[in-house]
Symmetry: C2
């Protein structure tokens, strides 16, 4: 068996221990005589899986009791519609556009009401996060929306906007569980799990009770209504059971390594390895503004399209895969999510050194 | 390792060969050095997985070239909204209500336009399929909707309604790939895969080209627009990759056993074993009208709630699980999907004989 260092922006690496456990239980989950894939979502076994997953997630993030946790389908993209459908009661929301994902969410929200772009960093090809201290928000907005970590551009909010009484809504897909968060700062947090938590096909929504109500926009599909899913404990229809099971295994793994503070420490160490190298390199440079750098996604370039392409090609020979950058930035992107071992970043930096010597 | 006979209505049994292959490939899919769960949905490996799955499905169902195949999220329930959002251009559709699932779809459609119930079997607790020959449809309807196999009541259309120029839309979730179908009879076919095809979290939509257009209802979420997903080949956002991979393995398994005609033969044999026993039993009886019986879901009762409960309880001792009926019908329900081996039905009938002797 071979395992590579997979720097994909998502779907992405999962902890090897988690995959081994899923492998062992594939045909017979804990003596049930069936795979988790084959299990009724109404069974006692699956009930325990989803309830344990929720409790472990609550423990990891210290989620206050007045927040609901939902395991849904459709990815973060579906939430781009579900959020305005459920939250735009006054039909007005403020968006900070800091990259492709917040831009998509902003565009989608316009289908449902007045979405205002209160700040954008598009002028700098989204290489930075707008200065949140300089912003004012519409007091009558239903919510203020941010994408807290922009996967493509490798930027992150190191400080949250102060939105007063207006609920803050955050897409945390590409930084979910990479560090502790103060959930009480938000009205709603959501993220696709396929970067840091599990296989594609599950999106987790953490929503404050007062934002769950029976009055979404009238055409909101039943399963996209938060109130429906809260009442049904995410089982309004058959949920993505196997994905939820894998998320649960990852939550256990995170608890086992010491929780999110320990995970953050590891992630800072890994990111520093790479950024420190980039900052002294004469060939490579990071593209995101230093103050806004992400711990998870590290885009970098050589300045030459030919060298970038050669780097991506030769990296494969070192078992470094999916390192090609997104076309909007070009070059390379190393996504170093929770499950990327330190050895992977070390291997990447070693190869970058070698490549730099050969091509400087 | 233990394997039980799992009669769950869904999620349900998968072929053991499929689970074994998934197990073997869990940490390293065909030398890629990663699990299918970890793979970028834009990678060459995943592209091959989804394209092969589509082609195998096309082969199995002989899908004409003017039909598109989509692998989406949200289950059949999400399609209850997506179908009117995309197809209700004249805001009018006819529904045949033959059970809980068509009733739910009918109710959901009312959010989007004029949904007419042209026939219902609710008067007989959905124990039969309305006589389709006696029906006339609105000529200006956007579509006629049926649920072709009602999972809860164990009924199925052995004859399709003649809808003239109005497209026929069918939910085939609980009979998908259990027998050959003439796809050209339909405008749109859809089904959640968690009964006959794969793990929960994937819904397959087969839609005729003329029903794919840029003019859905204005508030339709982007990823629920068929035109968007057709253009993106189901990759408008990250798809449920692992579920699609398992579906692909099941398609290969179906081809390996001889395709849908061979599958249908097996399914008829399995169903006959059970129905023949029920028809001669002095304790048990099937609840669905004989002419409308499903090959997949077989609800039956003893007539005594106490005996039903005892049967369900004692069945577990014979490794017969998830045999409890839905509360709307009571008693028992044996879902005998493609992956239920003949031995499972034989074991069930043997236990029913034993139980009948003890309790008649």
């Amino acid at each position: 068996m071979k395992r590579v260092f997979n720097f994909s922006a998502g779907p992405a690496m999962l902890p090897e221990e988690v995959l081994r456990e899923a492998q062992a239980d594939m045909l017979d989950y804990k003596g049930s005589g069936m795979s988790v894939m084959e299990m009724s979502h109404r069974s006692a076994e699956f009930k325990e899986i989803i309830e344990t997953a929720e409790q472990d997630l609550r423990d990891l993030l210290s989620i206050p009791e007045n927040y609901q946790v939902l395991f849904l389908q459709g990815g973060a993209t579906q939430q781009f519609a579900a959020i305005p459908m459920n939250l735009m009661r006054k039909k007005k929301a403020d968006y900070i556009v800091s990259g492709s994902w917040s831009k998509k969410a902003f565009k989608e929200a316009k289908l449902y009401g007045e979405a205002n772009c209160v700040a954008s960093s598009e002028d700098g090809n989204f290489s930075y996060i707008p200065d949140v201290d300089a912003l004012t928000f519409n007091e009558d907005a239903d919510y203020v929306y941010i994408c807290q970590n922009e996967t493509i551009y490798g930027t992150t909010y190191h400080k949250l906007p102060e939105t007063g009484d207006v609920p803050l809504v955050a897409d945390v897909s590409s930084m979910f569980l990479s560090e502790p968060m103060d959930v009480s700062r938000y009205g709603l947090i959501f993220g696709g799990v396929q970067k840091n938590i599990g296989p594609a096909g599950v999106v987790i929504v953490i929503v404050r009770d007062d934002l769950v109500h029976d009055d979404p926009l009238p055409f909101t599909p039943t399963i996209m209504r938060y109130a429906t899913q809260v009442e049904a404990k995410s089982l309004s229809n058959t949920p993505p059971c196997y994905g939820i099971y894998i998320c649960g295994l990852v939550f256990k793994w995170l608890k086992g390594i010491g929780g999110l503070a320990a995970m953050q420490k590891r992630n800072i160490e890994k990111a520093n390895l790479l950024y420190d190298f980039l900052d002294q390199s004469e060939l490579f440079r990071a593209t995101a503004r230093k103050e806004d750098r992400s711990l998870m996604n590290v885009p970098f370039v050589t300045g030459s399209d030919e060298l970038d392409a050669l780097f991506v090609k030769e990296a494969k020979g070192h078992d470094i895969v999916s390192i090609k950058g997104h076309r909007s930035v070009g070059g390379m992107r190393a996504s170093i999510y929770n499950a990327m071992p330190r050895e992977g970043v070390e291997a990447l930096v070693a190869f970058m050194e070698e490549f730099e010597k050969a091509h400087r």
